[in-house]
């Protein structure tokens, strides 16, 4: 079909004084295939839109080039306008002559504006329409991990009308919440919280709970994942629209941190909680309890939360003297600053060290020697029990699971939490979400926020039953594909899979719904078999060609 290009220029209410629009119009009109060049004062306002509409309809053009403000601002509304006129929105090419031309330079910039327009015109010649299509999606959700965040996610999804299958590795659901003694200032104990959640899950008809089960395989794409769930000997395979991972964390005392070995006197937070829950079993009340914290890494909200809560509980129930040796305290979680102040008021003593304390045994007690940098003095403390800091680590199987899913982990081994673009719950693969402890740094309020965020994202994704996608915006040309698997390997979103075209040949196929449109595959394909409409090679090259060409 013959290309007919209509050009609209917007002078932004005649404010772009350093561009000579009539000269640009004159020069552009001399190019080939140009139907008309219009100058408007306000393409974004109603009258501008009206004028544009009538002009496009009257001239029967099939490419639209607009020179106006940044596409970040106007692309969306112009695409919508084109769609309303039964022109494919992909046939639109924009030149940013305001932010990146008129406003960015002093003096007359007509030459640059003209060149930007010509780049856009050059690109427009190669634009192809991209159709849209509805893709049906499966409305069931898989939740992996039956801890508090997993159960809570399932409950929230059920409230939104989505059915879930909850897979828990252990024989009972519940996770780590039961290991907390209390949350200071909250009436309900963690145990009560847990039992009420458990009960709600049990009574909910939308939630199917599989305990002692593990996800062994995940295939497919968003809207249609197939997960194999192993349960002892039996294996079931089921299809899901989205997956939430709430696999939690594990804690461990790392002896090398302070050269200490756990024994009767050197205990973990969990042991302390056991002591607190059954004070009657203790032979004698510990007179002095010390805590030692090495907050040198960023993932440290949890140890501080449990230290402060437990220190307060010790004060309340055992009445012991409590000392906390720490380097620094991360008090950015909600209410932790208050908790810290309260602990001090109740008589918990905080000692700040720079060099690691020396820990030794003396007469069946633990001796901690440290230099307090605030006092500027050596401090020696003999305590009956020393509670060592437990490091929060990714749970066993995280690595296997991440390679199974083709999803990266952060520097600490947790599911990626560092990339600002994916923050807070999304992963690089569409339809896979992470909530709670498996993201590393957690506290209670953050987890609740995560759960809402993930469940709402899933609701948005799956509730319409059909998702509208642009069909083959990025596509593999099967005749050029040599099945080298390079694109399958590099795709950050796991959106490319091999499909069989006939008995002899397999080619790569890009799944429209899972594709996020980065174009990495198009750039890397050695056979140049991948075409990214809008940013295809010939389109980018055409833009480059306009540079330096004179009329």
């Amino acid at each position: 079909m013959q290309v007919r290009i209509g050009i609209f220029l917007c002078d932004c209410g005649e404010s772009l004084k350093n561009i000579d629009f009539s000269r640009i119009r004159g020069d552009l009109q001399r190019l080939e295939d140009i139907a008309f060049v219009d100058i408007s004062h306000n393409l974004c306002l109603e009258e501008g839109v009206k004028a544009m509409t009538s002009r496009i309809l009257a001239e029967n053009i099939n490419r639209v080039v607009i020179g106006a403000c940044s596409p970040e601002l106007c692309e969306h509304s112009f695409s919508r306008l084109l769609k309303g006129l039964r022109l494919n929105p992909s046939l639109l090419s924009l030149a940013n002559i305001r932010e990146q031309c008129s406003w960015a330079h002093e003096g007359d910039v007509t030459g640059k504006a003209l060149e930007l327009m010509r780049m856009a015109v050059n690109k427009a010649r190669f634009l192809q329409p991209v159709e849209k299509k509805d893709i049906p999606v499966n409305k069931e959700v898989l939740v992996v991990g039956g801890g508090f965040s997993g159960m809570r996610s399932a409950l929230e999804l059920s409230r939104l009308g989505l059915r879930t299958t909850l897979v828990e590795r252990e024989s009972v659901s519940g996770g780590k919440l039961g290991e907390f003694e209390s949350f200071h200032g909250i009436e309900t104990t963690p145990e009560e919280m847990l039992s009420s959640t458990r009960k709600a899950v049990k009574e909910n008809a939308d939630i199917k709970v599989l305990t002692s089960a593990e996800v062994t395989r995940v295939e497919g794409q968003v809207g249609d994942f197939t997960a194999s769930i192993g349960r002892g000997e039996e294996k079931v395979s089921q299809s899901f629209g989205a997956i939430i991972f709430a696999t939690g964390y594990m804690t461990k005392i790392l002896p090398q941190d302070f050269q200490l070995k756990p024994d009767v006197n050197i205990i973990s937070q969990r042991k302390l909680v056991e002591m607190l829950q059954a004070p009657g079993k203790l032979e004698r009340r510990p007179g002095t309890i010390g805590f030692v914290l090495d907050v040198s890494d960023e993932n440290s909200r949890l140890p501080i939360l449990s230290t402060l809560n437990n220190a307060l509980a010790v004060k309340e129930r055992l009445g012991s003297e409590v000392y906390v040796f720490c380097k620094s305290l991360k008090v950015d979680s909600e209410g932790v600053e208050k908790l810290y102040r309260e602990a001090r008021e109740r008589g918990v003593v905080f000692l700040k060290f720079e060099e690691k304390p020396r820990i030794s045994k003396e007469d069946g007690r633990v001796k901690v020697e440290a230099r307090d940098v605030l006092l500027g003095e050596e401090v020696t403390l003999l305590c009956d029990s020393l509670v060592a800091e437990e490091k929060v680590l990714p749970p066993e199987g995280t690595e296997a699971l991440s390679s199974l899913l083709n999803i990266g982990t952060d520097s600490a081994g947790f599911y990626q939490d560092e990339n600002v673009h994916l923050y807070p719950v999304a992963s690089e693969r569409k339809g896979i979400f992470f909530v709670g402890g498996c993201k590393g740094d957690l506290d209670f309020t953050r987890t609740l926020a995560d759960i809402s965020s993930a469940t709402m994202s899933i609701y948005k994704l799956l509730s319409p039953e059909k998702v509208i996608v642009e069909v083959e915006k990025v596509k593999v040309e099967p005749e050029k594909c040599r099945a080298c698997l390079t694109c399958v390997r590099v795709c950050p979103h796991g959106a490319i899979q091999m499909v069989r075209v006939d008995t002899e040949k397999e080619v790569a196929k890009i799944y429209d719904l899972a594709c996020d449109g980065c174009g990495i595959c198009a750039a890397i394909c050695p056979a140049k078999a991948i075409r990214f409409e809008g940013y295809a090679d010939e389109q980018i090259l055409a833009e480059v060609e306009a540079i330096g060409e004179s009329l």
Binding site: E115, N419, H421, P492, I520, A523, Y535, I547
Partner: protein, 132 residues
């Protein structure tokens, strides 16, 4: 030779660098007007052939601008772009074009001053070399 003839092509990722360029304009932070920005969905979309084409068409410098490392919307786009820029640089060196003429720049969406500095540096470098 005037500055207009020494064009710089900047491939800008729409998640960061393109927004930075808009921001610089909005703040009226002026920069050399020989820069031509080409919008790409990710720095990872930029191929060696695009960079070489720019030089073929007479550009004096190429900037590939993407997100900061570890903060790429598409995870590996910016690191792949960096490798390709290095590759293009080596090719250009072989044909006698100074390696500094193509550069990878990592930007966050609010780093307007840094964007201007990079563009100015490239423009000055080219100008300096042209004068010699």
């Amino acid at each position: 030779m005037n500055r207009e003839d020494n064009k710089i092509v900047a491939f800008c990722c729409e998640h960061s660098a393109y927004q930075v360029a808009d921001k610089a304009g909005r703040m009226r932070l002026h920069y050399p007007d020989n820069v031509r920005i080409i919008r790409v969905p990710c720095a990872g979309r930029v191929d060696v052939q695009h960079i070489l084409k720019a030089f073929e068409k007479g550009a004096a410098g190429v900037l590939v601008m993407g997100c900061q490392e570890g903060a790429c919307q598409h995870l590996t786009g910016n690191t792949r772009a960096k490798k390709r820029v290095k590759y293009a640089e080596d090719l250009l060196k072989e044909v006698g074009i100074d390696g500094g003429r193509v550069k990878m720049v990592n930007l966050a969406p609010d780093m307007a001053q840094r964007f201007i500095r990079e563009v100015k540096e490239m423009a000055e470098k080219i100008e300096g070399e042209m004068r010699r």
